[in-house]
């Protein structure tokens, strides 16, 4: 018997390319204790940013992605690694605590406008009215220039962690 692992093809995304400027946005940025409105440009003014779009908190790929990022020690880079999903600030705060991710912060975008602005939205089959960004990682440097990036084309698909680390180390 040929047991194959069926993946869903997400099709083409219309995301910003390497060398282009990452769209700015302001959303509640959540840590394990509180949240406050913060813009991407405020973060990039301080340090390069690794922006990780991930599925709703609680979905298994999200826990996989964040455990991998935590275990690889990405909080120790000079770049700031921040997440973004459609989950509410309350869910983000619990998620950070539950998985020992207190070193990281997550943007909350329940309306999925940021996913739309980055051209990476997809509708969720069987969950009427809910869309979210597909998994994606953008390494964003000075002036919000995209230094490198990855956008999932299948579901599930996980970020190329080693390549992203190499890009962060070159910043």
């Amino acid at each position: 018997m040929n047991l194959t692992f069926d993946v869903v093809d997400l099709g083409r995304a219309d995301h910003p390319e390497i060398g282009e400027q990452a769209p700015d946005f302001t959303r509640p940025l959540v840590n394990d204790e509180y949240w406050e409105d913060t813009s991407l440009s405020e973060l990039t003014a301080e340090a390069p940013v690794v922006l990780v779009f991930h599925p709703m908190d609680g979905d298994f790929p999200t826990t996989y992605i964040w455990q991998e990022i935590r275990d690889r020690g990405w909080d120790e880079y000079d770049a700031e690694v921040v997440g973004l999903s459609i989950s509410s600030p309350y869910e983000h705060s619990r998620f950070l605590e539950e998985w020992g991710l207190e070193a990281f912060r997550l943007f909350s975008d329940p309306g999925n406008d940021v996913g739309d602005r980055y051209g990476i939205s997809h509708d969720l089959d069987g969950m009427a009215g809910i869309e979210e960004p597909r998994p994606a990682v953008f390494v964003i440097g000075e002036s919000r220039t995209i230094e490198t990036g990855w956008v999932a084309t299948e579901w599930p698909e996980f970020p190329p962690y080693d390549e992203i680390e190499a890009a962060i180390e070159e910043l």
Partner: protein
């Protein structure tokens, strides 16, 4: 370095969604045209260590005013402080009828 979350022009307000005492402080801040940043915490007191580290208590509202170095909680105290520090010296407006009088907080 640019200034972001430590902008000295701004007051930081720790607040809880739908908390009347917090809204009372918001009305006062807006009435005085004072810029402020909101930091939202959760209703469960055990989730409010960030506030406790600042004020010694887990109650909100609480403010941090970088211009004066003042940190305080209790809405009546905060409103009085803001009116005294930034008001024009006229009588403070009475608090909204929907919020109970007194220095309560949640």
């Amino acid at each position: 370095m640019t200034e972001t979350d430590s902008d000295p022009e701004e007051i930081t307000l720790y607040r809880l969604q739908a908390c009347p005492f917090c809204e009372r402080v918001v009305r006062t801040l807006n009435g005085l045209d004072l810029p402020y940043r909101s930091r939202f915490v959760e209703a469960r007191h055990s989730r409010r260590d960030a506030v406790r580290r600042l004020t010694g208590a887990r109650t909100v509202p609480a403010i941090v005013d970088d211009r004066t170095g003042v940190t305080m909680s209790e809405s009546a105290n905060i409103v009085r402080y803001l009116e005294t520090t930034y008001g024009d010296g006229s009588e403070p407006k009475p608090a909204s009828a929907s919020a109970p009088a007194g220095g309560d907080s949640e």
